[in-house]
Symmetry: C2
Subunit: 425 residues, 2 copies
Amino acid sequence: MKTDPFALRGTICSSGADCRLRVWEDAFLVCEDGRCAGVFEALPERFQGVPVEDCRGKLILPGLVDLHVHAPQYPFRGLGMDEELIAWLNRRAFPEERKYQNLDYARRAYEIFVEDLVRSPTTRACIFATIHTPATLLLMELLEASGLSALVGKVNMDRNAPVYLLEGEVREAVAQTRLWLEKSAQFEHIRPILTPRFVPSVSDALMAELGSLQREYGLPVQSHLSENLSEIEWVQELSPESNFYGEAYQRFGLFGGEGCPTVMAHCVHSPPAELERMAERGVFVAHCPASNTNLASGIAPVRRYLEAGVRVGLGTDVAGGHSLSLFRAVTDAVQCSKLRWRLTDQSLTPLSLEEAFWMATRGGGAFFGQVGSFEAGWSFDALVLNDAPERTTLTLTGRERLERALYLAEGCRLVSKYVEGRKLF
Amino acid sequence: MKTDPFALRGTICSSGADCRLRVWEDAFLVCEDGRCAGVFEALPERFQGVPVEDCRGKLILPGLVDLHVHAPQYPFRGLGMDEELIAWLNRRAFPEERKYQNLDYARRAYEIFVEDLVRSPTTRACIFATIHTPATLLLMELLEASGLSALVGKVNMDRNAPVYLLEGEVREAVAQTRLWLEKSAQFEHIRPILTPRFVPSVSDALMAELGSLQREYGLPVQSHLSENLSEIEWVQELSPESNFYGEAYQRFGLFGGEGCPTVMAHCVHSPPAELERMAERGVFVAHCPASNTNLASGIAPVRRYLEAGVRVGLGTDVAGGHSLSLFRAVTDAVQCSKLRWRLTDQSLTPLSLEEAFWMATRGGGAFFGQVGSFEAGWSFDALVLNDAPERTTLTLTGRERLERALYLAEGCRLVSKYVEGRKLF
C-alpha cells in the first residue's frame, strides 16, 4: 500500500526478539507504505517534514494479537461460568451458535462484536465463526469494513453436537466450505482459515476432506488441543490410532509443517511428545489463561513451551474467557503462571510481564508474518493509549506506565489505532 | 438516624444466610431510618406514598464490604507486580508509605483514594493507613466527609522495617496510638481499629501494650496472617513459643474471642490448628485472591474455611491486589478456587458465584454487624447499578445480569450508592 509517510511521537514500547522490552521515553515511530520505518530519537533527514501526531504523555504500543476468539459467543461473555468445557458447550455455546443461521441475528450480534473489537487493543485476530456460510461471510464483510486484519474460519463439525449445529453429509460440508472459500476471495484484509472445531466434532471422513482442501488452497488451520482432561480421554477413544491428541489432526495433514501454518488453542495438558511435535512442525499455541481458569481446565505450562521452542501467543477465547481485552489476557497469563509455579511446579518460573507482553504482540504476531513489533520493515500495527489517570501523586517511567496500563486495563483509553498503516480511529 | 422513608424499585439481588442468592425481578426496597424495612413485591400499606426512585432496568445490590485494603498503597496499584511479599514490601510498599509523614502528600493521595473508593462498589471497609497519626486522622476525616462507613487503623510497627517507618520507643508508639484513638472519637461513621502491621513488624513489648489498649478501649483488631511461606517461617523464628502464627497474636489478646472482633488478611497457609482456633474465637478471614496471586503467595482453601465454620469475607488488598473493585474480587475468588481445585485438591469444590458474592456482602458485612443483606432491620447499604450494555442481542434474568456485572466489572456504571441510608451520590 503506497501512502505518504507519517510519524507518531510519544513514549514507545516494543518487544525485541528475546522478549526483552525496549522503551523510548520520547521518540518518533515512522510509518511508510503501511510498514514501520523504525523508531527514532529524532526524525532522520529523509523524514523531515512528514506529519507528526503529537502523542507525548501517551503510550504507543504495537497492536495486540488475539490468536483465539469465538465471535458468535460474544453475546454471552461473562455468563454460565460455573461449568466445565463439555457441559458449557452444550448448555451455552451451541444454543447461541445456532442463532447464526438467522442472518438478521448474525448481523445484530456481529456488528456489536466488530465494533467492540475495533475499540479493544486487538489489531489482528484468529476468529472462529459458526458452521453457517452466509453468517461467516457477513462477519468477514463487517471486519473488512472495520479496517482490522484477521483470519476468520467457518467452523466445520459433523458429529457429537446437537443436530442443528451439524453440517450433515460430508459432501455437503465440503461444498459449503468451498463456497465459503471462493466467496472469501473478495476480501483484502480478512482471509479464511480452515476451522475443524475440534476432534470430537469432526468425523475422520470430513477431516480427510479438510486436509485435501488445506493442501489445495494452502490454507492456515486453527482448532482446539488438549484443553480439558475429559476431552482428551474422549479424543483417545475417538482416535485410538493417535499417540496423542495432536496426531488426530496430523493424520489428516492438519498440524503444522511446511505450507500448513497452524494455531491450536489451549494445550493445557499436552504431553511431552505432543509438545515436541509442535516445536518440530512450528504449530502455534494460543494460550488462553482466562478461559482455562473459568472452565477449570487448568494452567498451561507456558514456560515449558517457551523453553521447548514452541511458538506461543495469547488468546482471549471469548466466551470461555469473559473479556475481549488482551491487556487482561497479558496479566492473566502472568498471574496464572505464578499460581502454577506456587501450586504445582516450582521448576517452571513465573512469566514476567515482559514475556507475557511479548506473547501478546510479537509471539502471536508471528502467525501473521512480521507483526507485533516496531522493527523496521514490520507491519505498522499500533495503539496510542491515554494512560494518564485523572489525578496521581507519582511520576512513572515508561515501563511502569505499561505495567499499570496492562493491570488497570479498564482505566486506559485507546486514542487511536492503526493496522498496516490504516488509521481505524 | 431518623429520616423519612423512601424506596428503590428495580431488580434486587441479596444473599440469604445460607449463601443462596435471592433475586426479585421487579420489587421495592424500602429504607427507614437508615435501615432496610424489607423487600416487597408491592409497597405495603404503611409505605404507600413514600418517594420511590425508579431503578427499573437497573440492578440493586447490597453494598460490598472490603475487609482488607491499604489506603496509602493506592498510588502504586498495578506496579511492581513481579515480586514476592517481603521484597515487595521493602521495594514498593515501605518507600511509598514513608511519604505520608508529609501531610500535603497524604492529602493529595488520600483525596484520590477516597474519591475512587466512593465511586467503587465498596460501602464498608477495614483500612490500613500508615504509622503516621496526623495522616491517619486526615484519612478518617476525608472518609467521614465522603459518607462511607469504615474502620481505619493507624499502623503499629517498631522492628524489621526501614527506620523511617518505625515508631521508635514502645512508650512513644503507645502515646501516638492513644493520641490517635482520642482524636478518632470526633468521627461518627469512621471508627478506629487496632492495627499491628504483622508479627515481624511488632516487638513483643509493643504487642503487649496493644493488647492492653485493645482491652481498655474495646477495639476491633486487624492484621495479616499466614500469607507467605517465608513469612510464616520468619514468624516461627520470631515467636518460637507459638504453635502457629495466630498464637503470636493470641498471646497478647489480639486474636478474637469475647470483646475482641478480629479480622486477619490472607490465611493462605493456615494449618488445621490455626483454622480451628479461628473458628472457636470468631476470627474473620479477609480472603484476598488478587493479592495472593500477584505476590505468588498461593490460593487460600476458602471452601475448607467455610466448612470449618470460619467467618470469611473478601478484601481487595490494594496494592498487593491491583484493583479497588470488589466485583473483581468476587470473580477472582471464584477463579482461584477453580484453579486450586484443579491443581491441588479435588476434595475442595470450587466456590460458586453465589458463595463469592455472599462473602463480599453478607460474609464480610458481619464484621460490621447487620450489614450486607436486605433483611428487614439491617443497615441500608445499597448500590444501584446500570448494568445494561449499550447494545445486546440477549435478554437476561436477574441472576444472569448479576453474573455478567461481576465478570465485566468495567462495563457497569454505579448510578447511586447508599450507606446506612445516606445517599453518597
